[in-house]
């Protein structure tokens, strides 16, 4: 019995088409023209309890719209959603009690009061027993460092702190399902990794089902094995992440600023990288992440020479999708 089942889901918006110029605006007053936008265009899938599923696609693909319908705050144009046995938008409050939501671009916290007040309020809203409340607060403090900004008003928090506070709110009541919409957007690498690790831990220890919508491939790679690729409201791929990478290839690029010299780069070539550009103090290494992974390359690099700065760029999802389309035609 899947915990989430989506059947032929559609969401259409009617947008007003504004005609150009003053004459156009005048005509619009009397005869409004509409165009229909299909944000979600026939989506079906099912998710079992305890799965971590990545929902990846470029901006505007319909990820957030689908998530909002799963949460129950948007009503589908047609199609059926079943979450834990109920239709989310028909029983919004009941569904809301069993889920946790983190929207990367917005906060659930009350703006003018300290984090502690919001959490206390959430406790009443979700009917969290005192024991569970205190236990969770301890976990959040230990792993997310919540105690360091517990008494700070939300408007004074940094983005990373605010995100960690939002995650704490979302998990306070031990929900069955956790929805994350772009949770690591704008965060630095250290905080990103801490949050990803925490999510992995929550899934393992509580068997929480996790749906992660993002356009950042590295989020998914660190967290899940199953991925759904969305584009223009349609699901283009639903399956294993590594299979996806193997089928469409994922080129990664490492750029490093060096403080020394590398005499011989042929060893790196023989390890399987595709291309090396070595220019004064900067080296650019392109490779297929299926053949050789980033840690191997970085390890080789730091053993050979002192590095000032290293950046790793993953193939953007847009490229993967483009390759998917190309492969279909």
């Amino acid at each position: 019995m899947p915990i989430i089942k989506v059947d032929n889901l559609y969401k259409e918006y009617h947008q007003r088409k504004g005609r150009e110029g003053s004459t156009g605006a005048f005509k619009d007053l009397f005869n409004r023209q509409f165009k229909t936008v299909k944000a979600v265009d026939g989506v079906s899938f099912s998710i079992e309890k305890g799965e971590i599923v990545g929902y990846i696609g470029p901006n505007g693909a319909g990820k957030s719209t689908t998530i909002k319908m799963l949460i129950g705050i948007l009503v589908p144009s047609s199609g059926k959603i079943d979450v834990n046995g109920i239709e989310p938008y028909k029983h919004r409050e009941l569904n809301a009690k069993r889920i946790g939501v983190v929207f990367g671009q917005r906060t659930q916290l009350w703006w003018d009061i300290p984090v502690s007040e919001t959490l206390s309020l959430m406790r009443y809203i979700y009917d969290v027993p005192e024991q569970q409340y205190l236990e969770n607060l301890k976990i959040f403090s230990d792993i997310l460092g919540l105690d360091k900004f517990y008494h700070t008003p939300v408007r004074q928090l940094s983005l990373g702190q605010r995100m960690r506070a939002d995650i704490s709110c979302a998990l306070l009541h031990n929900p069955d399902i956790l929805y994350l919409d772009e949770p690591t957007i704008g965060l630095d690498v250290v905080v990103k990794e801490r949050i990803r690790e925490f999510i992995r831990e929550v899934n393992k220890s509580r068997n929480t089902t996790i749906i992660l919508a993002t356009h950042d491939m590295s989020d998914i790679e660190r967290l899940s094995s199953r991925v759904m690729v969305v584009n223009s409201g349609k699901i283009m791929y639903d399956g294993n992440l590594n299979t996806l990478k193997r089928r469409y290839g994922t080129e990664e690029t490492i750029v490093a600023d060096l403080l020394g010299r590398i005499d011989d780069t042929s060893e790196l070539k023989s390890m399987g990288v595709d291309k090396i550009i070595y220019d004064n103090n900067k080296i650019t290494i392109k490779y297929d992440s299926v053949k050789i992974n980033s840690s191997t390359v970085v390890r080789w690099l730091v053993e050979k020479v002192e590095t000032k700065d290293i950046s790793i760029t993953v193939t953007p999802i847009e490229d993967v999708i483009r390759k998917m389309y190309a492969a279909r035609n």
């Binding site: 009503v75 809301a96 659930q108």
Partner: protein, 264 residues
Amino acid sequence: MKKYLKFIQISFNNGLAYRVEYFVGTFRNLVILLVQLAVWKALLTAGPVTTGSGVVTLREMTTYVVISSMIGTLLTVDVIFNMNDRIRNGQIGMDLVKPVNFQTYTFCNMLGQNMFSFLFQLLPILVIGVIFVGIELPSIFNFLLFLVTLINAIVIMFQMNYALGLVAFWYMRGWQSTIVWILNRLFSGRYIPLWFFPPILVTISYFLPLRLMYFVPISIYLGTMAPLDCLYSILQQFAWMLVLYGMTRLMWRAAIKKLVIQGG
């Protein structure tokens, strides 16, 4: 339930954070009150005036405007503005994620705000009313009826504003506030008692719930309403509450389908 009480409490505390706005608002209301007192003094110093409904004295009118001013602190709501705002910036999505009834939640927020507003402005208004002008005091019975109609008025005012706020789910526009503003000034009796209105406007006012929010409670306070009329008015209030409740429920079901949550 306890969570709703907490919402009221937080909303009330927020008032303290926005002290400056409240000072300005209080000052503005006091000025309006003083202007009204000056006008009625000019009109009625020569002697009482006869209207279609009876005789109006200066003391009655000064009491009227002072009580009206106090009711104003409880009935001025930000509901439409807040709902428009939250829909336009998509923050409404965050409200709907929570397992709380949106209407009750909005009501609690309004209540907290208005309670703070009332307490904040009560003292200056009372000072003017009791010490400087001298207002009439009602009988115990009338005062109790007054309180009942006042509580009902708060609910009705909320429901009206909430219904208009729901319109933002469709249109995302801001004209709803203007409608409320105009109707309120005209038919509620907030600034000019309905005693002075021409018969045709009085008739129209009977079809709207607005007179039940200012004119009726104040009339009960002043004792210018016959006891039977008082009870009849209270029944009308309950009737409107039911009608508006049904309306908002229907509107909600339609509105949630139309909702567009901006961002993300």
